[in-house]
């Protein structure tokens, strides 16, 4: 600035920047330090986990090691151990002298070889080079001289004698000369000798090896688990654990296991979940957090897999972790990143409640997934709660879709056939006018092929026709047939039920719709007016409620239905609770229903799209009869039965009346408001629109809406739905902040995830309507509210969450069983569809509903239906087919069980289709691992003496077979507890029968059939009781003899033994 005194020094050149530079430099150092820290620790939290794991796990191992050492010491003190140890010692000392001689000889050979080796190597190289020199000189005249010379040199080298200091057996060293050839020979000889001594040594020690093995086997058998030495090595390894990333790397060829659409799977989960690393925790060790003393820690991911068998089925090296569990296998920086619980990871770890969702990813086609009870429950509920009514799910009760596709296929084939015929005609014509014979022959051949093709199509169409027929019958509806509402239900009850479904029945299968009163009125009126007016079911006289109650309890109704509410509730949850059935059903209808629920008022003709009235039949000149034998009208299939899964119990009309009378007593004193509007025709159109809107026809048969498909979203791949496509409505902010729709904090915090959405949606679908201006109720979300417990809700969430688009996974990872496993899955669909598992135990460990009921406890367990765990091995497939088609095994005497007529509980008639029966038979065979093609084994016929012996055993007092087994005497059969042995030949398999007779309790614990009838003696079964004189000298297998006897049982023989039986009656 002018006028001012300039500063004495130039501010630029004089000022030092050292200060700022120093500060900046220090800052830089500090930041670099931060960076290093972040790299080493901040971004590597797994180091901390590994350090901690090393600490707790080595403590765990130390403790176990000490225990093990003590156990080892205790074992060492036992006499067996000592004896075995002594045996080892004895063997050792026995082998010692020979060993010493062999070892000495071997040592000499080694010394000789060592002495020979340097010379051998040198000479070998020299001769080799000289030989090459000789060989590479051309054998022409021009080179003859040099070739000869080279030859001489080579031969000289070969013949030169090399002296070696040769060790002898006496320990001295002698000079020994070798030519090239001798060297070779000696060297080979030494090698042979060495091999010989090694073999000799092994042979000499065979005794020792065997003894040691015996000892080790004994130790392993007495003290399973890791031996102390292994444990110690492991402990050292864990103590000095190297902190590294542990990862599973799977790279199946073709596609990828991850959902990124390509490349390998990298799961570094084990970097923190160290208990899963089999290098550190061998499979013999299973430990929980508590075992490690960290029971209360929420941050100790060190336990081993809780279900080791799953790891055996899905080895880590093939499946990794995230394939089943979700999460970000790459993530290592933070827990939330590793678990994929951050915004940008579409495949977060499943929460423990939904952990089995992972199974569904690959097991989507299963009807039953072992080790996944929650998932199985979800599948069960998906059907029972009627989800399947509205939501398509590929492979799940898709007979309707299959039927449609079969029809489609038929029409395609029809078209193809017509096209073929046209083409064949054209080809023939082309052949007729073709210029050359060769061409003509080609044309004719083409035409012939097409004709044959059409014939093949015909066979296909025939098969499809049969399939269609079966499918037509297999299509079942979740809810009752509402065409019969007018005949079936009380008028006043209908609107109440629609409006207050869950008040009337808290765990109803039918979900609660959210309806305005006018909607309820319109829907009720429509259903009422739309229903058939008649012909009414036959008028019934009143029955005996007391007898009805007894029958209701005994026949097995409770396997599916429940009765009583709250704590009084007993029975299964497969079908409706019947506590208030008396308030809704009309008596006459109920009697017919109980008698045979498949009986219909009028059949429905899907081709003509109408219910066929008696008048229609009359017009066609046919009697008004429709059943399995009269399942067509005017040449096409008709719906001749109610599409319900409820079977017929083959009751008499009187029994049906009694049960119905009992059920009619099941009611409260509730008064229903009269519903006079039910006949108001003005409500019809509005009601119909509403019924269509809410998709009632998805679960019910409703006249005029038979063809309405499923109205809901297909859920087959719901678990892969991008979050962006999900409408949280006005709950998005709440979801992000973790506030549940009811205002409480959500269990897992923010729930703006697919899982959170599904949980809220299935629990209370209506919440997503909240705060929305919906002047017209019909603009609300359709989905009704199902009645679910918390566990059931999670089961359904698990099922839907796991239903992902698995097309990106390698196809061979998807569980698509073939052979037996496929039969098992197919059979389970049917077994669960008809609730076979309500009465029968089918899989080992599974419990039927009846088993849990109070009236089948204790000794009453004998009244249970038979377990079917060995059914495939027990009975012959042909017999099973007949039985499933007609469980009474009789066309006339049907009010009974075909096999065990003494049982009160009854195998009902399910009216299964041929296809279902085939599937079930294959299912039982596959469950018992029986080969698919059953060829009855030919038993050697009994000789007369054998018959006599068998009869004697059969009737001996020690084997009172006919005391329990039915024998055709009516009075006895009532109290019998086992089937008639006359059925054996047609029903059972000999192999099973033998196994059964010798130890029934092993196959069916708690059976009335006693075990120990036979004892094993010299490789054969011998009757365990006092032997009848005639049988004393029988040399053969007596159990086998008895099996053969049973397979030859005739009524005459039965009568004969009946007379002989000391316990006869």
């Amino acid at each position: 600035m002018p006028g001012q005194q300039p500063p004495p020094q130039d501010p630029i050149t004089s000022r030092s920047l050292a200060g700022p530079l120093l500060v900046a430099g220090l800052l830089l150092l500090a930041v670099l330090g931060w960076s290093l820290y972040q790299e080493e620790f901040g971004l590597r939290p797994w180091r901390g986990y590994q350090a901690r794991f090393s600490r707790v796990y080595s403590a765990y191992l130390e403790k176990r090691l000490a225990d093990r050492r003590a156990a080892d010491r205790a074992l060492d003190a036992t006499s067996q151990y000592k004896a075995l140890e002594a045996a080892v010692e004895a063997a050792r000392s026995a082998a010692k002298p020979k060993d010493a001689a062999t070892d000495k000889a071997a040592a000499l050979v080694a010394a000789q070889r060592a002495a020979l080796l340097p010379t051998y190597v040198t000479v070998h190289a020299q001769v080799g080079a000289l030989t090459y020199d000789y060989e590479q000189i051309p054998a022409t005249a021009a080179y003859r001289g040099s070739k000869q010379h080279a030859y001489n040199v080579m031969i000289a080298a070969r013949n030169q004698v090399h002296v070696v200091d040769w060790p002898t057996a006496q320990g001295t060293t002698v000079k020994r000369g070798f030519t090239y050839d001798q060297l070779n020979a000696e060297f080979t000889n030494l090698l042979d000798l060495k091999a010989e001594y090694v073999a000799a040594r092994g042979q000499e020690d065979a005794g020792v090896t065997a003894a040691v093995k015996k000892l080790n086997d004994y130790v392993a058998a007495t003290l399973p688990g890791l031996p102390a030495a292994t444990r110690n090595a492991l402990l050292q390894k864990v103590r000095t654990l190297d902190f590294t990333i542990h990862q599973v790397y799977v790279d199946p060829p073709g596609t990828s296991l991850n959902y990124l659409g390509g490349g390998s799977l990298v799961d570094r989960c084990q970097s923190c979940h160290l208990g899963m690393d089999s290098d550190l925790v061998p499979p013999q060790i299973t430990m929980t957090k508590a075992d490690l003393g960290l029971a209360k820690s929420h941050n100790a991911p060190f336990a081993t897999h809780p279900e080791p068998v799953l790891l055996t089925l899905h080895p880590l090296h093939r499946f990794g972790c995230s394939t089943c569990h979700g999460g970000d296998g790459w993530g290592l920086d933070t827990v939330s990143q590793a678990h994929g619980r951050f915004e940008h990871w579409p495949w977060p770890l499943y929460y423990s409640e939904n952990i089995e969702a992972g199974c569904q990813n690959c097991h989507a086609a299963d009807a039953w997934t072992p080790y996944a009870p929650v998932l199985d429950r979800g599948r069960f509920l998906f059907r029972v709660k009627g989800c399947i009514g509205c939501h398509k799910y590929a492979g799940f009760d898709d007979q309707a879709e299959e039927l449609a596709s079969a029809e489609h296929e038929v029409s395609n084939l029809d078209r193809e056939k017509a096209a073929n015929a046209r083409q064949a005609k054209a080809s023939n014509h082309a052949g007729d006018v073709a210029a050359s014979n060769a061409e003509a022959q080609r044309d004719y051949a083409a035409a012939t092929n097409l004709t044959v093709q059409n014939a093949k199509i015909d066979t296909q169409m025939t098969a499809l026709g049969a399939k269609e027929r079966d499918l037509f019958e297999e299509v079942k509806k979740v809810g009752p047939n509402l065409k019969e509402a007018r005949l079936h239900l009380r008028q006043d009850w209908i609107p109440y039920w629609i409006a207050h479904t869950h008040q009337f029945e808290p765990d109803a299968q039918m979900p609660q719709f959210r309806l305005e009163p006018y909607e309820v009125r319109a829907i009720s009126a429509f259903l009422w007016q739309d229903a058939l007016q008649g012909p009414a079911p036959p008028k019934q006289a009143p029955g005996d409620p007391a007898h009805g109650k007894q029958l209701f309890m005994e026949r097995g109704c409770l396997a599916c239905h429940s009765i009583g509410e709250g704590s009084n509730r007993t029975g299964g949850d497969y079908a409706e609770n019947l506590s208030r059935i008396g308030e809704k059903d009309t008596y006459d209808y109920l009697v017919r229903w109980v008698y045979n629920p498949r009986l219909r008022t009028e059949p429905y003709d899907p081709t003509l799209h109408k219910d066929l009235s008696p008048a229609d039949y009359a017009k066609a000149g046919l009697p008004f009869v429709f059943d399995a034998q009269h399942s067509t009208f005017d040449g096409h299939e008709i719906e001749w039965e109610n599409p319900t899964v409820m079977p017929s119990f083959r009751l008499s009309w009187q029994d049906a009346r009694d049960i119905a009378s009992f059920l009619e007593t099941q009611k409260t004193n509730m008064n229903y408001a009269p519903a006079s509007y039910m006949d108001d025709p003005k409500l019809f159109a509005q009601g119909k629109a509403l019924v269509e809107f809410y998709g009632c026809a998805s679960c019910h048969e409703i006249a005029g809406l038979e063809d309405q498909g499923r109205i809901g979203v297909e859920l087959t791949q719901e678990g892969s739905k991008p979050l962006g496509q999900i409408d949280f409505g006005f709950l998005l902010t709440d979801a992000q902040e973790g506030i549940r729709p009811d205002g409480k904090p959500a269990d897992h915090g923010p729930w703006d995830t697919l899982r959170g959405f599904l949980e809220a949606k299935i629990h209370q679908p209506g919440v997503f309507d909240a705060d929305r201006y919906r002047p017209n109720p019909e603009t609300r979300l359709h989905m009704p509210t199902p009645a679910l417990t918390r566990d059931d809700l999670e089961a359904l969430v698990t099922f839907v969450l796991g239903s992902v688009d698995n097309s990106t996974l390698p196809p061979n990872y998807l569980y698509k069983p073939t052979g037996e496993a496929a039969d098992v899955q197919k059979g389970w669909w049917i077994a669960t569809k008809y609730n076979c598992i309500g009465c029968h135990q089918i899989a080992i460990g599974q419990q039927s509903v009846l088993e849990s009921l109070p009236m089948y406890q204790g000794e009453n367990a004998a009244n249970l239906p038979p377990p079917l765990t060995f059914e495939g091995a027990r009975v012959q497939p042909e017999w099973l087919k007949q039985f499933l088609a007609n469980p009474a095994l009789s066309t006339s005497d049907t009010n009974r069980d075909g096999v065990r007529s003494y049982l009160e509980v009854r195998m009902p008639t399910f009216f299964l289709t041929d296809d279902e029966i085939r599937s079930l038979v294959s299912f039982f065979e596959a469950m018992s691992s029986e080969p698919l093609q059953y060829v009855p084994s030919q038993l050697p016929p009994l000789t007369p003496p054998e018959t006599a012996i068998a009869r004697a055993i059969f009737t001996s007092p020690a084997a009172p077979c006919l005391k329990c087994h039915m024998d055709g005497v009516a009075a006895h059969d009532k109290t019998a507890s086992a089937p008639n042995l006359l059925q054996v030949k047609a029903r059972l398999r000999p192999a099973w029968t033998l196994q059964w007779m010798t130890d029934p309790a092993a196959m069916q614990p708690g059976t009335a059939m006693p075990s120990g009838l036979f004892r094993r003696e010299n490789g054969r079964w011998v009757f365990n009781g006092p032997l009848p004189a005639i049988a004393k000298n029988y040399p053969g297998d007596m159990a086998e003899l008895l099996v053969r006897y049973l397979f030859e049982m005739t009524p005459a023989e039965q009568q004969q033994v009946l007379r002989l039986t000391p316990t006869g009656h």
């Binding site: 600035m1 002018p2 300039p6 500063p7 130039d10 501010p11 630029i12 050149t13 920047l17 700022p20 530079l21 900046a24 430099g25 800052l27 830089l28 930041v31 670099l32 931060w34 960076s35 972040q38 990124l260 659409g261 915004e343 940008h344 990871w345 579409p346 991008p722 962006g724 496509q725 409408d727 409505g729 998005l732 902010t733």
Partner: protein
């Protein structure tokens, strides 16, 4: 719903928005910083203008000066040490930034799942915002091209010899205003709008308003010819029979020329008025060749068109003023 501060925080803390947030502070600061020095220089100029004697002897900088000081200093060490310091500081800033904020990585690319909002990187958000107002070819191609060419044209149309190499405001009022309007008033503001205002569906959300992907917006925009009811009926008589059916198109096309033409004329006159507002600017204007004037006018007119369109669309709800079958303005 306003008052959703969480939403605002989400936007501001979005890693990729950090530079934009930084710009909010940096650009005004540096503008102020530069203008502050410009003011100092302007004072000096004023002083020297009034005192020719001093002007002859003065070193003519606001920087401290003494005749004994060297006019130039050695690069080594005086410049390089500063560069070193700058490099260290930049490194520190960068490392701190990198250590505290992770670069975003979202879901794997998936053409089936549309991002909502699908936004360009922040430095292109201004262009993306323009897409709301112009046809893509204008916003995405024509405007960027004109911006680049316009920037490159600046040295050739700014004939003002003053203010070369020093901060000054008074000597370059027009140039500085134009640049600041273009750079900060248009480009930066559009970028800010694109970053902070545009939410799902590229809808307009005021700050602190929740970004609701399901929000329903009622937006009507009309074309100018609709407002004036151009229907081409009167034109139909003048057209050959073959074009009768296209009368509306013709009418619209012709009609559109009117407002566009008017705008060009008015804006040209407006800018002419500005650049000839003071004697000084008239002097500068006098130095310009015809080509320079035309190019400058065109560029200025086009630049002004951006904010005008912005206001027309957002306040007057007018979509296009000129419709033709090939392009719309």
């Amino acid at each position: 719903m306003l008052g959703d501060w969480h939403q605002l925080w989400l936007i501001v803390s979005n890693p990729d928005n950090v530079p934009v947030v930084a710009l909010i502070g940096l650009v005004p600061f540096f503008t102020w910083f530069g203008l502050r020095q410009a003011r100092a220089n302007d004072r000096l100029i004023e002083k020297l203008e009034t005192d020719p004697e001093l002007a002859r002897t003065h070193h003519r900088k606001t920087q401290p000066y003494h005749p004994s000081w060297a006019k130039e200093v050695h690069t080594w060490p005086y410049l390089l040490r500063i560069e070193l310091l700058a490099a260290i500081l930049v490194t520190v800033i960068l490392l701190v930034w990198a250590l505290s904020v992770n670069a975003p990585l979202e879901e794997p690319a998936n053409a089936a799942i549309t991002m909502n909002p699908a936004k360009a990187p922040w430095y292109f958000l201004g262009l993306q915002e323009l897409l709301e107002y112009f046809d893509p070819w204008i916003a995405g191609v024509a405007i960027p091209t004109f911006v680049i060419l316009g920037l490159m044209a600046i040295p050739f149309i700014d004939v003002n010899p003053l203010g070369n190499g020093y901060y000054t405001y008074k000597q370059r009022r027009f140039a500085i205003w134009t640049f600041l309007i273009g750079f900060e008033g248009i480009w930066l503001v559009l970028t800010m709008i694109g970053t902070f205002i545009r939410g799902p569906g590229f809808m307009w959300f005021w700050p602190t308003q929740t970004w609701d992907p399901d929000r329903i917006e009622f937006l009507t925009t009309r074309n100018l010819d609709d407002i004036f009811g151009v229907n081409g009926k009167w034109l139909a008589h003048l057209l050959p029979a073959s074009q009768q059916a296209n009368a509306v198109l013709w009418a619209r096309g012709l009609f559109g020329i009117i407002p566009v033409g008017i705008y060009f004329l008015v804006a040209a006159w407006f800018f002419y008025k500005i650049i000839t507002a003071t004697p000084f600017t008239r002097k500068i204007f006098g130095r310009m060749s015809l080509l320079q004037v035309v190019v400058m006018e065109v560029l200025l007119i086009l630049m002004l068109a951006v904010p005008i369109t912005f206001f027309m669309r957002n306040l007057l709800r007018i979509k296009y003023v000129w419709e033709t079958p090939w392009f719309n303005l």
